[in-house]
């Protein structure tokens, strides 16, 4: 356990020493939040109502912030892992006395945590000035819990995409499509609550809703029943994706052993 903590810490420090990524993502979240505000304030005015499907402009903005933090804050592991597979350096990493997947998890976390923190502070400051103060503190713990689950789900899918480099030459298209599916079915640009009912049902039967919509919605309006629904969904999908990941990983390792990387 100690070694993963060390890996986590070194990635954290690395992030702070080379602030280029932090600066970019921070600028982007300010940009996006500002555009979203233009979009949604006009939309709410045009709709002539303070409340659309149970969400106010204030709620919508904080929802979107939470979603963007997850999107901009998560590590781009798919690319990292696929490159390691393609140039064979994965073999080198496998010779180390730690589990490859846990290594990626810890380093991803080290990269991700400070970034999400900074994004929250900067993005939050902007949204506060535009749409009002953040949601009640009572919402935060449940939302953060769901955030952790969502982060893990993202991790599983990213790792799966990265490992598909064993089979496919270019994983970038897979990455793009996964991201866009999260956009639509995770309610990243438009909260799922605004979707037509039939689409909401579909979305909620797929993992993406639990990767984005769940935590963001909890942040805005916590509700124990809803929380349990989300967590249950996350656990279910984590179990499925996690085992798939394990399977793909061991299959890949066998392949590596045979082909010699």
């Amino acid at each position: 356990m100690k070694k993963y903590h060390a890996i986590f810490k070194i990635n954290l420090l690395n992030n702070l020493a080379y602030p280029a990524e932090l600066v970019t993502r921070s600028a982007l979240i300010l940009l996006f939040m500002w555009i979203f505000f233009q979009l949604w304030s006009i939309t709410f005015t045009a709709a002539g109502s303070d409340n659309i499907s149970g969400l106010s402009l204030h709620d919508t903005m904080w929802y979107l912030l939470f979603a963007e933090i997850l999107e901009l804050g998560r590590p781009r592991l798919a690319r990292v892992i696929s490159e390691q597979v393609k140039d064979g350096s994965i073999a080198y990493l496998l010779n180390k006395p730690y589990n490859f997947l846990l290594y990626q998890l810890s380093s991803g976390l080290g990269e991700s945590l400070p970034r999400m923190g900074l994004l929250f502070i900067l993005g939050g400051a902007l949204v506060w000035t535009m749409a009002g103060p953040p949601p009640d503190l009572v919402n935060w713990p449940l939302a953060l819990f769901a955030l952790a689950g969502a982060w893990l789900l993202h991790f599983c899918i990213n790792a799966l995409i990265g490992l598909s480099a064993f089979a496919v030459e270019e994983v970038a298209p897979l990455e793009w499509i996964y991201q866009k599916l999260v956009f639509i079915l995770g309610g990243m640009l438009v909260p799922l609550d605004f979707y037509p009912a039939w689409l909401q049902t579909i979305a909620k039967s797929l993992p993406f809703a639990y990767m984005m919509y769940g935590p963001a919605r909890l942040f805005v309006r916590s509700d124990l029943q809803f929380f349990i629904q989300i967590i249950a969904g996350q656990i279910l999908w984590l179990a499925m994706l996690g085992s798939l990941l394990g399977l793909v990983f061991s299959r890949g390792m066998k392949r590596l052993a045979i082909n010699g990387g």
């Binding site: 280029a20 990524e21 600066v23 970019t24 600028a27 982007l28 940009l31 996006f32 555009i35 233009q38 979009l39 006009i42 939309t43 045009a46 709709a47 496919v168 030459e169 270019e170 970038a172 298209p173 897979l174 793009w176 499509i177 866009k180 599916l181 956009f183 639509i184 990243m188 640009l189 438009v190 605004f194 979707y195 037509p196 689409l199």
Partner: protein
């Protein structure tokens, strides 16, 4: 001028040959990008289904503006692919190669690469226009003109931003931010933005020239719109050439980067 055009054509032919060496990857990436763009657009379909008009901006407009931006982005990547890595080329001293050959440096550098997946974007733009419900053959002609001029503005903008590398070393951070910014602003409805913001979108981050203005031209022919597009293209192109060559002077003095002695 004709000489350089002939040279560009042979350069593009060589690029295509290099891309065709990996035919499968090329096709996979192109299709992937079409899917990527299409899936992303679905969010907007969902949005406009619920909220039909944002200060006059409707789904049809979205189709057109997306079309222009995507095709312009694709064309930039197909014909001037190194516009995306110019900063990197500068910093790594790889301009030396182009400088020691008897062809205009900027043109040679930009035209020496075909960015993978850009074919997908290019095609998607047309698909988006076909899907807009406003399609007509004459309109297609205007669409093509719009795309061409938008491409000039986009590539010029990229050159401008990337040329910062002559003075600032690693411009990498800034570049990806700038690209994200211009694309985002280009595809969001321009009606969202107030006067001041719109000025920025014309003069600083020329997203208006990459989306809204050409889209207006496609919907209805107008001399003033055409004039505006030509002005924008000429303006940004001249500025880009100026700034690049100014930076090139600095590069040739040796003070731009850490040179090997």
């Amino acid at each position: 001028m004709l000489r350089e055009l002939k040279f560009l054509l042979s350069l593009w032919k060589t690029n295509l040959a290099a891309a065709m060496e990996y035919r499968a990857a090329f096709i996979f990436q192109s299709i992937g990008m079409i899917l990527n763009d299409a899936v992303y657009f679905v969010v907007w379909i969902i949005f406009f289904d619920r909220f039909p008009s944002i200060r006059g901006w409707q789904l049809t407009d979205m189709f057109i503006v997306f079309g222009i931006s995507a095709s312009a982005f694709g064309m930039a990547g197909l014909l001037f692919g190194n516009a995306f890595n110019l900063g990197d080329i500068i910093v790594k001293g790889r301009l030396d190669y182009y400088l020691s050959l008897p062809r205009p440096t900027l043109l040679h550098v930009l035209g020496s690469r075909l960015a993978p997946s850009s074919f997908g974007d290019f095609i998607y733009g047309f698909i988006s226009y076909f899907g807009s419900g406003q399609f007509s053959m004459v309109g297609l002609g205007r669409f093509i003109i719009g795309v061409a001029l938008a491409t000039i503005v986009f590539v010029s903008f990229l050159v401008l931003v990337q040329s910062l590398a002559f003075w600032m070393g690693t411009g990498g951070v800034f570049t990806s931010m700038a690209i994200n910014a211009i694309i985002t602003f280009a595809i969001y409805p321009i009606t969202l933005f107030n006067q001041t913001a719109q000025v920025i979108l014309f003069l600083v981050i020329p997203a208006a020239f990459m989306g809204a203005v050409p889209a207006r031209f496609v919907k209805d022919f107008s001399w003033s719109t055409l004039g505006l597009m030509l002005l924008g293209a000429a303006g940004f192109l001249s500025l880009a050439i100026l700034v690049f060559h100014s930076g090139l002077r600095r590069y040739e003095s040796g003070s731009a980067i850490q040179t090997e002695v």
